[in-house]
């Protein structure tokens, strides 16, 4: 396998423009002869499918939910970044580019990030034209806010439901193409394999989640927009059905998987309350603007928070990071919460939580001030925990939130399999080792609205327009493989449910491949995952029904999670530096902060599947930083 990122030559500002000119075009009359399969209908998938339909391609869209409108992009709260400089505060394409490369801890591709910043303003234009109700000032112009510690106001938002409104904009554009007959949508379908013909992606096998039948779809290209793999940790802020199976199946068909160890943990989630917990809920980290994080000074202090006197509290973020205090970046806030809990100073029934206390702000500014700013979050907290955050401090704990890693793609967003394109969180492209707040929505829509419509044409122009028949030998074989795999899951008839295995995998991942990793913990995790994997295939119990059977769906995903978890740990093991969301305990400064190793690790790690139970092959895409000088972060 040879990794060729195909980054255009020339100055960074002109790469995308000159590349667009060099891309081959398909005449309007011929576009309808090309059939494109889009899997997933989040921001990336829905925007891509709608835009490709508008161009005249014949598009088939599949999604796992009962409607394309329910993809998990819908849950994004905060906002979407764009370099419009409407705020007149010094923002520019260059600054957004710079912030994103730096925020990604210098593990992203400069050329891709620059392009992302370049098209960011077009996204806002497009969404407004669709009727997305972004927040506005009294004069009628768009309102922006500063988000995630940036010094400019470049984040556009629609109350706390930005993801919802952007997704509905893309979904509506998609449904318009459905009405026009350009796009066909098949909901409640799960992709279970990729079909390749002559080394090119030419179709997929899906399971109809209502009837249980396996269906085949053929096309000239396959676009994956199936999201991230955060649920490998079992508990995350992802949706219940968010899963990795589509990208994992493609990995096993030869698509390189890049930087799986780059996972993001969000510090302000509502803690786990018991073994039955099915997911974690995130609260906007804007809470840290006015809330103070603390734990008792003394180990095992189980008094209720209000009975712990001021002198016996440790406001550890303020103590350790006097200049940033409670506003240190996500990874630092998360890691410190873990440290104090590991030291036996965690709070709540489980001891896996820290306090987020608004008492001082309420005393200084009044309770109305807090209600105005964060009322909806306090309501949400009370709905879930039954506790009143105005009276007793909230309890928070970090949770897995986003995965920066994903299938490796070149500048055209094509994976190492020709004809397989990967968009949004499912690819690895733009966020490096750490994603900035409000940048996920930007990337998903940039990929779907403004990149894939150009780059896919270049690929298709070099492909024969002849259709692949779904009764070809390649389809028959792939179908047979999927059928036997599903049959195998059903036939084990053991004692443990898919959820039970998933929970165990999640615990191993969280404890040993979580917020802090070291060689010993990673090796231990790999051993544990191998053990779970073999137990899974011997002791799985799923209901026997071959039609609508959600536990059978879960089982297939869990079978893939245990494998993906191992690759994640393997990647974390080879990356002996700390960077972004990846903290290796062996690589830290004397003060205990993350220490990058640019000399040895300035590359994207792309893994190639080498067969079941074989060590995958590591390929390195070197990263060069010509425009943003490599620097270490400091928040002291």
């Amino acid at each position: 396998m040879k990794l060729d990122a195909k980054i255009p030559t020339g100055p960074i500002q002109q790469k995308w423009d000159s590349h667009r000119f060099n891309l081959k075009l398909i005449s309007p009359a011929n576009k309808r002869k090309y059939h494109i399969i889009v899997v997933g209908t989040g921001l990336a998938g829905a925007s891509a499918a709608a835009s490709l339909g508008e161009l005249g391609y014949d598009v088939t869209v599949l999604c796992i939910q009962d409607s394309p409108r329910r993809a998990h992009s819908i849950a994004a709260q905060g906002g979407i970044n764009a370099a419009t400089n409407y705020a007149n505060d010094g923002d520019s394409v260059w600054r957004l580019f710079y912030d994103t490369v730096k925020g990604g801890d210098f593990r992203a591709r400069e050329a891709n990030v620059y392009r992302l910043a370049q098209v960011s303003a077009n996204i806002i234009d497009q969404c407004v034209a669709q009727g997305v109700p972004f927040a506005r000032e009294y004069g009628g112009l768009l309102e922006m806010r500063s988000f995630g510690g940036t010094q400019v106001s470049r984040t556009f938002y629609a109350r706390g439901q930005t993801g919802q409104q952007l997704l509905l904009g893309a979904y509506q554009a998609l449904m318009r193409q459905v009405e026009k007959g350009k796009v066909t949508v098949h909901p409640r379908r799960e992709m279970l394999d990729l079909v390749m013909v002559n080394g090119q992606a030419r179709g997929i096998i899906v399971r109809n989640l209502i009837t249980g039948e396996l269906e085949t779809y053929a096309g000239h290209a396959v676009v994956l927009a199936t999201g991230g793999y955060g649920n490998v940790y079992y508990l995350s802020t992802n949706a219940i059905n968010s899963n990795e199976t589509a990208i994992w199946r493609c990995y096993k068909k030869g698509a390189a998987f890049a930087n799986p160890c780059f996972t993001q943990i969000h510090p302000t989630c509502i803690p786990v309350s018991g073994a039955y917990q099915s997911k974690l809920t995130l609260m906007s980290e804007s809470l840290r603007n006015d809330g103070r994080v603390w734990v008792p000074k003394n180990k095992g202090d189980k008094r209720p928070p209000l009975e712990i006197p001021e002198a016996e509290r440790d406001y550890y973020l303020e103590r350790k990071y006097p200049s940033f205090g409670n506003l240190v970046p996500r990874d630092i806030a998360s890691r410190n919460a873990k440290d104090v809990c590991d030291a036996g100073r965690g709070v709540g029934e489980t001891g896996l939580a820290v306090y987020l206390d608004f008492a001082e702000t309420i005393e200084r500014e009044g309770v109305e001030y807090v209600k105005d700013k964060y009322g909806n979050l306090f309501d949400m907290y009370e709905r879930i925990t039954g506790e009143n955050g105005y009276v007793t401090p909230m309890r928070i704990y970090p949770a897995i939130h986003y995965t920066m890693g994903g299938l490796w793609v070149d500048y055209d967003l094509m994976s190492t399999i020709p004809g397989l394109f990967v968009l949004g969180e499912a690819n690895f492209s733009d966020h490096g080792a750490n994603r900035l707040g409000a940048s996920a929505l930007m990337q998903g829509l940039a990929d779907g609205y403004f990149i894939i419509p150009y780059t896919i044409g270049n690929y298709l122009a070099t492909t024969a327009a002849t259709a692949t028949a779904t009764d070809s030998a390649e389809f028959t074989q792939a179908l047979q493989e999927v059928k036997s795999r599903v049959g195998r899951l059903l036939s084990i008839r053991g004692k443990r449910t898919p959820r039970d295995f998933h929970r165990e995998i999640g615990r191993v991942m969280w404890d040993h491949v979580g917020m802090a990793r070291n060689e010993r913990s990673l090796k231990h995790a790999i051993e544990e995952l191998r053990r779970i994997r073999s137990e899974f295939w011997q002791d799985l119990l799923v209901p026997a029904d071959e039609d609508l059977n959600k536990n059978l769906e879960f089982a297939g995903r869990v079978a893939d999670y245990v494998e993906l978890g191992e690759l994640l740990a393997l990647d974390a093991l080879q990356r002996k530096e700390s960077c972004g969301g990846h903290f290796r305990e062996e690589s830290q400064t004397p003060e205990g902060e993350a220490l990058r190793d640019d000399e040895n690790f300035t590359y994207a790690a792309a893994w190639e599947f080498a067969g079941e139970n074989a060590m995958p092959t590591l390929h390195k895409e070197p990263l060069t930083f010509e425009h943003v000088p490599l620097t270490q972060r400091s928040y002291k």
Binding site: S47, A50, E54, Q65, D66, S67, P68, R69, R70, A71, H72, I74, A75, T84, D125, Q126, C127, V128, A129, Q130, G131, P133, F134, A135, R136, Y138, G140, A158, R159, Q161, Q164, L168, Y171, Q172, A173, M175, V178, E179, P187, A239, I240, S273, G274, Y276, Q277, S278, K279, L282, R383, I384, G386, F450, T497, D500, L541, V542, P543, D545, L548, N551
Partner: protein, 252 residues
């Protein structure tokens, strides 16, 4: 057993598919924690059923944070259960008492065929949106986002309606099985914005026609939809839809 543990009697609707008759089946569930969400309580029940070799209760859910609109069931006669402005995934068991009997049924409407147990087909909602719930702009060529100022009042009103999550509780709660709140929410959202003006007439006529074609009932102002809406969408949007529809009939 500590005090936050409960025993519940559950009566759950079981049905194989749209063409088979269904029935309420009774289950007893012990050791339910008050901190569980309602869906987690059902997860626990299902784990028990699987281990016993029985078919689990199928129900839809996804984000489990009240925004995707996937989950929905009628709990003791109330769509999404007893808590105001809350989807069933955010309803927690502390709102129930030890020894309670809880009846759980799917959304019931001619236009939402039952697929299994509590899982229904809401494809009719997608077809209503496809009939006109959008602004016809292709990607590219959009004018600068700040070129058309929109008053804060307009955009706030648009956002109030746009908050709809298409869960279908409005339909389930309506004695007529009407989708008026859902359809009106989208018509209202776009009618408040300058971008929505060009197609305003066709949008109202076509979406209402599709709503009728799907077999939803008519609205007769019961207001049940507003009472159960997890996003607190006001019934005023239905009044606005009627005006938009009339306007569409009259204005050329």
């Amino acid at each position: 057993m500590s005090s936050d543990r409960m025993t519940l009697r559950l009566k759950i609707w079981r049905q194989t598919d749209a063409n088979s008759p269904g029935k309420l089946v009774q289950y007893t569930l012990n050791d339910v924690s008050k901190h569980m969400s309602f869906l987690e309580m059902l997860d626990v029940l299902n784990e028990d059923l699987i281990r016993k070799g029985e078919r689990p209760v199928e129900f839809d859910s996804d984000c489990r944070e009240g925004i995707c609109g996937t989950c929905g069931m009628v709990i003791n006669g109330m769509a999404h259960g007893p808590l105001d402005g809350t989807t069933v995934c955010q309803l927690h068991m502390r709102h129930f008492q030890d020894g309670d009997t809880i009846t759980i049924e799917p959304w019931r409407s001619r236009a939402f065929p039952i697929l299994r147990d509590l899982v229904v087909d809401r494809g009719s909602f997608d077809r209503i949106i496809a009939a006109g719930g959008y602004v016809s702009v292709d990607t590219g060529g959009a004018p600068d986002a700040n070129s058309v100022p929109i008053s804060k009042i307009s955009v706030d009103s648009a956002m109030d309606a746009a908050a709809c999550i298409a869960c279908g509780a409005c339909v389930a709660a309506c004695p007529n099985g009407s989708a008026a709140l859902f359809t009106a929410a989208k018509i209202t959202h776009l009618s408040h914005l300058p971008q929505g003006q060009v197609e305003r007439r066709e949008r109202a006529l076509n979406m209402v026609a599709q709503m009728d074609a799907e077999g939803f009932g008519n609205c007769s102002n019961h207001g049940e939809c507003e009472a159960v809406c997890p996003k607190n969408i006001s019934i005023r949007v239905i009044a606005r839809m009627r005006r938009e529809y009339l306007r569409g009939l009259v204005v050329r």
